[in-house]
């Protein structure tokens, strides 16, 4: 019987592996574009939210994308990695993608800054896997809503997270109760990225520097 032949084991495993792998590869190819689109839409939504662009409550992915392409320009050399919201050729606001390690998993967010590069227009966290009910609150409007209108300080750390309940200065927001680790890390992620970005932007666009060269 063929099943008893010594080479059967090897051929059997080979054929089986080839069959299952091809099926997986085929499916992965077929959905690659969709997965890519999902990722893009999540980022675009976050950019629009951080820029405080009014979104229809149940905007479809297509409407969202249309709004995005109409109002937002992708990162370019002169914006140092930030998206820009433009109207009539003027930059209204910047949206800076930031990322780093959260308590459990990477956190990715977008920080929105006004054209003055000092006033925040908002914060949107589009990827996180923190503890539900605690750290995961950083992605909810109750937390992110506080960022709009805050003004960055002149020196690092430009934005501070404070204990909930205490009065806030204009560069302070309340951390999440019961999620100290997540809050501390998010504060660090935002400050590091914003600080680096501001330094680069100010070097390039410092008043006078462009003209004297």
């Amino acid at each position: 019987m063929i099943v008893k032949k010594p080479w059967f084991t090897v051929v059997y495993m080979f054929v089986l592996t080839a069959f299952f792998s091809s099926a997986v590869i085929a499916l992965s190819r077929a959905t690659r574009e969709r997965v890519e689109t999902n990722r893009r839409i999540a980022l675009e939504r976050a950019v629009l939210e951080a820029l405080a662009v009014a979104l229809p409550a149940d905007a479809s992915a297509l409407e969202l994308h249309a709004l995005f392409t109409q109002q937002v320009r992708p990162p370019a050399a002169e914006s140092h990695g930030a998206f820009r919201r433009v109207a009539d050729g003027r930059t209204l606001a910047y949206a800076l993608p930031v990322e780093g390690r959260g308590f459990w998993a990477p956190v990715r967010a977008v920080v929105g800054l006004d054209a003055d590069r000092q006033t925040l227009t908002g914060l949107a966290v589009y990827e996180q896997n923190e503890t539900p009910g605690l750290g995961a609150e950083i992605a909810k409007p109750g937390f992110t809503g506080q960022f709009r209108g805050r003004r960055l300080g002149a020196h690092a750390p430009r934005l501070r997270f404070k204990r909930p309940g205490l009065p806030r200065a204009e560069n302070e927001v309340h951390a999440v109760t019961g999620a100290t680790q997540t809050s501390v890390r998010l504060e660090r992620i935002i400050n590091a990225a914003v600080d680096r970005w501001l330094q680069r932007m100010n070097e390039r666009h410092a008043p006078g520097s462009a003209q004297t060269r």
Binding site: L16, A23, V24, S28, T31, P132, G133, G178
Partner: protein, 206 residues
């Protein structure tokens, strides 16, 4: 090995030999994904589908698979179905794919699936094997759902994200229930409860 009726197979897997509280299998994921009922539901659906499909496939191939490499073949089959589910989630339900994170991939290492393939599917016809896989998955699912309902209710005062009347307002939320330790307490209490409900002196089964 004597023939068993489908009903017997199903009840055995669902209750008398329940994978979680009787065999103490699949505990890692029982602890990891039970802090929200919705996550648990999706995880259980994924696991049940994988177990049923893997058992079916292992049973279909049982007459050809050489004994020496059967574990390799089983792992390959299980991994295949898990990757299918993972890709599907990423493409069509990205929020859930992110929430479950690595746990979908880790279904591959869930002892329940390999256990059922080894102990049952490779000796039994496809129909019965598939039923056994399905029932084992559901047996796992109902224990996990019980855990997650307790955890989400006591920890956040909601079920499936919907606030529960008294719990959302008057209950002082036990934050520890949504943290990892909460899973240990709940699981231990439930195993205790179920084992008292279904006494099954080890050894009498032989």
């Amino acid at each position: 090995m004597k023939k068993r009726s489908p009903a017997d197979v199903a009840i055995q897997a669902l209750w008398r030999d329940n994978p979680v509280f009787r065999q103490i299998l699949g505990i890692c994921s029982a602890l990891a994904v039970t802090n929200l009922v919705l996550n648990t539901l999706v995880m259980c659906a994924a696991l049940t589908l994988t177990t049923a499909a893997s058992c079916l496939t292992v049973s279909l191939l049982r007459k050809y698979t050489p004994d020496r490499i059967r574990m390799m073949v089983q792992t390959l089959i299980i991994a295949f179905y898990v990757i299918l589910i993972d890709i599907w989630l990423k493409a069509f339900w990205p929020e859930m794919g992110r929430a479950l994170g690595p746990y979908v991939g880790l279904i591959i290492t869930n002892c329940i699936i390999m256990g059922r393939c080894e102990a049952f599917a490779r000796f039994n016809p496809p129909g019965l094997a598939c039923l056994d896989g399905l029932a084992s998955g559901l047996g796992y699912a109902f224990v996990l759902l019980a855990i997650s309902v307790v955890r989400e209710l006591l920890g956040m005062g909601s079920i499936l994200g919907l606030p529960v009347p008294w719990f959302a307002t008057h209950w002082d939320k036990w934050i520890i229930m949504v943290m990892p330790p909460g899973a240990f307490f709940t699981l231990a209490c439930l195993v205790w409860l179920f084992r008292s409900l279904a006494p099954n002196a080890e050894g009498t089964a032989k």
